[in-house]
Amino acid sequence: MIKRYHNILFLFVIIILGCEKDDICIEGSENTSRITIGFIDYNSKGPKSISLESIRGIGLDSVIEGIDGNDLKLPLIASSNKTEYILEYNKVLDTVTIHHQTIHKYLNRSCGYISNFIVKSDTEISKYHGWIKEVSIENDSIFNEEKTNILIHY
């Protein structure tokens, strides 16, 4: 007798399972932005295209390939308040230390958290040999990748 009711229970299980929708983070949802670094001429303060041989984050072995152009987008460490990069230009290495406030923002279950950053004013350079003359902050908040955040004078 109870077997007949199994059909109803089975139906109920199917309905319940069918109700649970898949959580997929939609393409185009907010994302963690990278820092945008611009390069300008130290003397004329005008934009100056650069050709970097290599870029490497301190603490990592893997090297980001070099770039050619006016600006550079690099990821910041979401679990730290400091990100350091070694930039190689004309076989000369220089380290840029970016101090940033890291703010995590919750979106939803499927996307989880993203990170926004605010560049602190004490962002500095450590000169090994010194091709970078100066680092200046243009826009301190990194909520998107539209604006240039810091400028490297060289």
Partner: protein, 245 residues
């Protein structure tokens, strides 16, 4: 407007056909029980108090290496077919979600009634029931670690300390449950039961910069959706108030 009415009509037809199909299933069983004894029709028939535990929660918590979770269940027969029913539970569960790992700890209370649809033969006391519950849970969710969404995986995006890895305390959730289940008397006064629950969240206190991804008792909460589901597998003991024939 016409489309809307058409839609309504279709829904109406669907419900009607659904009820009829249910009816045909039940009428089949009734035929075989036509020779069973008719019960006395009394308004109140407080016959038995049943209480017990859910078997699934302790098993889930021990297999996940969590602290003990449990649920105590009980029901009181008030008329022939109607039972006052309730559950109290305590949950401590570590949840590894897609992006966020967190620990959910809390207590819940569910109160409502069950309606038995099963006509027993003499001497039998099984039930197939539908029911309704109002449930309330107070809980906390502690974010243990999470992966920050990023288009770039050059640095590790795992965050396991310091940032939003905090405990969100004093959270509440209220919901209603539509219950369906069976209880089978396996030994005298000992029942094994299984129930399935469809939950509809009414309200919950949202933590700041996080969401209630899991509510003890309600279970998983999905994005932009107030429906959830649950089940329990119970072992109950009945205290009979009257001697059964």
């Amino acid at each position: 407007m016409i489309q809307f009415l058409m839609k309504k009509k279709q829904i109406f037809l669907f419900i009607i056909s659904f009820i009829f199909s249910l009816n045909s299933i039940f009428s089949q069983t009734e035929n075989t029980e036509s020779d069973s004894l008719k019960k006395k029709d009394k308004l109140l028939n407080i016959n038995k108090l049943r209480f017990g535990i859910d078997l699934s929660n302790p098993i889930i918590s021990s297999s996940n290496d969590d602290n003990l979770s449990y649920e105590i269940v009980g029901d009181l027969q008030i008329t022939d077919d109607l039972y006052l029913a309730g559950e109290y539970g305590s949950i401590d569960r570590y949840i590894e979600d897609e992006n966020i790992n967190f620990n959910s700890v809390g207590n819940y209370l569910k109160i409502g009634f069950d309606y038995n649809m099963f006509n027993n033969w003499v001497g039998m006391d099984n039930s197939i029931y539908v029911g309704l519950r109002y449930a309330s849970s107070s809980f906390s969710n502690k974010v243990d670690s999470y992966t920050v969404r990023s288009g770039d995986a050059y640095f590790s995006n795992l965050v396991d300390n310091g940032y939003e890895n905090i405990t969100h305390n004093n959270l509440n959730g209220n919901w209603i449950e539509i219950v369906t289940g069976v209880k089978v008397e396996t030994f005298k006064n000992i029942y094994l039961g299984i129930s399935l629950r469809l939950n509809k969240l009414l309200s919950d206190t949202k933590p700041s910069n996080f969401d209630n991804l899991f509510i003890p008792g309600f279970n998983k909460v999905t994005d932009d959706n107030t429906w959830g589901s649950g089940f329990n597998y119970t072992l109950t003991y009945s205290i009979p108030f009257k001697k059964r024939k």
